[in-house]
């Protein structure tokens, strides 16, 4: 392969690799540090999706072969479909079963609309901390 082309590809690979590692690590820090379940789901899904995009683009730029590009495209499409669905299901399950919310949570539109939950009583869900 042309060495100049490979140099440009490696430059892009370094940039996307730094972005991907940064977002992946920030997702893990958010899972550790956030105050309740909903904040943790938020951090995990968004940051991990961005991190996976960055890392896969780095692989595609560094090892530019047909198999890598096909597999990376499959992982990207699957991650874009699957990760929001999984996070939504998890947040919905937590809301249905009355997971505790952070004390400083500003808006709870489900409680305002009086959506039926599986809670035996209709009082608002307990808060955390």
């Amino acid at each position: 392969m042309n060495p100049t082309m490979q140099t440009i590809q490696d430059l892009f690979a370094v940039v996307f690799l730094i972005a991907g590692v940064f977002f992946t690590f920030i997702g893990a820090v958010g899972v550790y540090r956030m105050p309740d379940v909903y904040h943790r789901i938020h951090s995990a899904s968004k940051c991990s999706t961005l991190g996976m995009i960055g890392l896969l683009l780095a692989v595609v730029f560094h090892v530019a072969s047909v198999g890598i590009i096909a597999k990376a495209t499959m992982v990207l499409v699957f991650a874009f479909v699957a990760l929001p669905v999984g996070s939504h299901m998890l947040a919905w399950a937590g809301l249905r079963t009355g997971s505790r919310q952070w004390r400083h949570t500003l808006v709870d539109e489900h409680a305002e609309d009086r959506v039926k939950t599986d809670q035996p009583s209709q009082k608002p869900p307990a808060t955390l901390e």
């Binding site: 392969m1 060495p3 490979q6 140099t7 490696d10 430059l11 690979a13 370094v14 690799l17 730094i18 991907g20 590692v21 992946t24 690590f25 997702g27 893990a28 820090v29 899972v31 550790y32 379940v37 943790r40 789901i41 995990a44 991990s48 991190g51 996976m52 890392l55 896969l56 780095a58 692989v59 560094h62 090892v63 072969s65 047909v66 198999g67 890598i68 096909a70 597999k71 990376a72 499959m74 992982v75 699957f78 991650a79 699957a82 990760l83 669905v85 999984g86 996070s87 299901m89 998890l90 919905w92 399950a93 937590g94 249905r96 079963t97 997971s99 505790r100 599986d118 035996p120």
Partner: protein, 124 residues
């Protein structure tokens, strides 16, 4: 037509291993040193992230916290495998990333159904 495409799918996915010698035909450029340094630092950061998620997995007050932590660990493992793919220049490792991503998704769906199904029935 559709069955033909489905028959060709494993062949398309295995195309990378045919006639591609790992890490020899990628020429060394001026960014190779920087790339390897970033990979070393990234491996350390992702291992640290797995440690943080393990702490949340052990400490999480509710079941949903532990499930989120386990799902995030799966995504960190995907990142680790992708870093190894860049490091070794080989095609073979990205299959592991695909598999782990699929299993993480199925795990999240199954556990959320489990939370709803066993709510109020589990011993406190």
């Amino acid at each position: 037509m559709t069955s033909t495409m489905l028959d060709m799918l494993p062949w398309c996915l295995a195309m990378g291993e045919v006639g591609h010698a790992p890490s020899q035909d990628i020429p060394t450029t001026i960014f190779t040193g920087v790339l390897m340094l970033v990979i070393e630092v990234g491996l350390a950061l992702i291992l640290l992230g797995i440690g943080l998620c393990l702490v949340r997995l052990l400490r999480g007050p509710e079941l949903a916290d532990r499930i989120v932590a386990g799902d995030t660990i799966a995504l960190q493992v995907v990142g680790l495998v992708i870093l190894l793919t860049v490091r070794l220049g080989s095609d073979a490792y990205i299959d592991v990333a695909m598999t782990v991503a699929v299993i993480g998704f199925v795990t999240a769906i199954a556990f959320s159904q489990f939370i709803i199904a066993t709510h109020g029935k589990e011993p406190a």
